[in-house]
């Protein structure tokens, strides 16, 4: 009997002991897929949900228990702000698009203009996800919108899908962020794109507005991202940084 009580007490203590750190790290961060590597380096503690920014926006609008939202374009964060679901977003990083080709560039695609010839397989983000919107803006600026009809196009829900298609050779080329190309550099090569046509890729972060939000934890996380260390890790990962005045 005494032994049973002791065992139960020990189990309860262990459960409480385990529960305490879980409660302390219960911050839920919803972030764009392209932030996976760098965010987990900046702070490994939160529970992360990495998906396409538009999907995350929808989840938050439907009441998902997010504390922080970080999107790969201002569109989604600003929409949440306008809808009262998020505090005013701030820009914390920038990026660029590159054209990806499988490692070794088997089709010898040295320029994006080579896509004009048609007959290739492309992997692009779908129009609703930031990388897809940026890609379409880039192609418009280059006068290459038609390559999305003259080539076989696979529309992907996020950057990970694009990288995978190009890396395994299912696509001859794809468009993704420069930081993703760095991470997958053992599987893909990156082709630089003309500067004038680059759409400004801006990442924004905000604290979610909902009942029960971990406001203190969210603010602390955003502060970490924007701290000197956070900016250093972002820079090391290949992201650009907005000027201090825009922070």
């Amino acid at each position: 009997m005494t032994k049973n009580l002791l065992t139960r007490a020990l189990m309860l203590a262990l459960m409480l002991g385990l529960a305490a750190p879980a409660a302390a790290s219960a911050l839920d961060v919803y972030a764009a897929s392209s932030l996976r590597d760098v965010f987990t380096k900046i702070d490994p503690a939160p529970t992360y949900n990495f998906l396409g920014s538009n999907t995350l926006q929808l989840q938050i609008e439907r009441g998902a228990p997010a504390d922080v939202f970080a999107s790969a374009s201002p569109t989604e964060a600003q929409a949440l702000f306008r809808g009262g679901n998020c505090q005013r977003p701030v820009t914390f990083a920038t990026n660029k698009l590159v054209m990806l080709v499988p490692k070794g560039n088997p089709k010898a695609l040295k320029s994006v203009y080579r896509l004009r010839g048609g007959g290739l397989r492309l992997a692009v983000g779908n129009a609703g996800v930031p990388v897809g919107g940026y890609t379409r803006a880039l192609l418009r600026r280059l006068g290459l919108s038609r390559v999305l009809t003259s080539n076989t196009v696979s529309n992907e829900a996020n950057v990970a899908g694009i990288i995978e298609k190009v890396a395994n050779g299912s696509a001859d080329a794809g468009f993704a962020y420069a930081t993703d190309a760095r991470i997958a550099s053992s599987q893909v090569d990156a082709i630089r794109l003309p500067r004038y046509a680059q759409p400004p890729v801006r990442y924004q972060v905000c604290r979610v507005v909902r009942s029960g939000v971990d406001a203190g934890g969210a603010d602390a996380f955003i502060a970490k991202v924007r701290s000197k260390r956070g900016r250093g890790l972002l820079r090391a990962a290949g992201f650009g940084l907005p000027p201090a005045s825009k922070r």
Binding site: T94, R141, P200, G240, P243
Partner: protein
Amino acid sequence: MTQLDRGDFLRLGAGGLIVAATAGLLPAGAAAQVPAPTPQDDDVAFLSFATTAERASRDAYRAAYRQAGAGFSRAERSHLDHVASAKRAHILRLDAALGVDAPLTGDFVTVLPKGAVATKASALALLHQLETLLVRVYLNGVGYAADSGTRVFLGRLLAYDSEALGWLQLRAGQASPGGLSSPIDLQPAADALDGFLSTPDFPD
């Protein structure tokens, strides 16, 4: 207002009138008849290139104007200043036509080669390079833009920059330009422009 001496005026002939028109000096009625550009499909490409290249060109004119010891006369410096101002107006119109596709301040920074405006000769060579690039792209756009308003708009920019190119050639002691340049595709044009651009907030 462009300052021309009598010789310039005679040499440039009708070009002067084109300048007046494209610099916004048309009577209000005539200006109102010009259709507003509503770019379709890939027309945006010509306008996007133009607004970025015009920014680089404007910055080069400004740099040349500010380089007091380069050897430009007072009238020449006044002309450089005037062209820079006209280009600023053109950029605003280009950005208005582009709408949400217009670049934002800070997206690009013009990078001029070291010593590019140190002397009159080097400044003229730099400005000539940029104006030639613009003229050749405008020739392409006038021929291939889908929207008629965009074609007219690009045509007016072509007229202005052609005249500016003529002025530069005269100042460089070259003969009056014999005919127009040839159109250039956006691919080599983009490569040429990239050398003058930097994106400081974005990773390179």
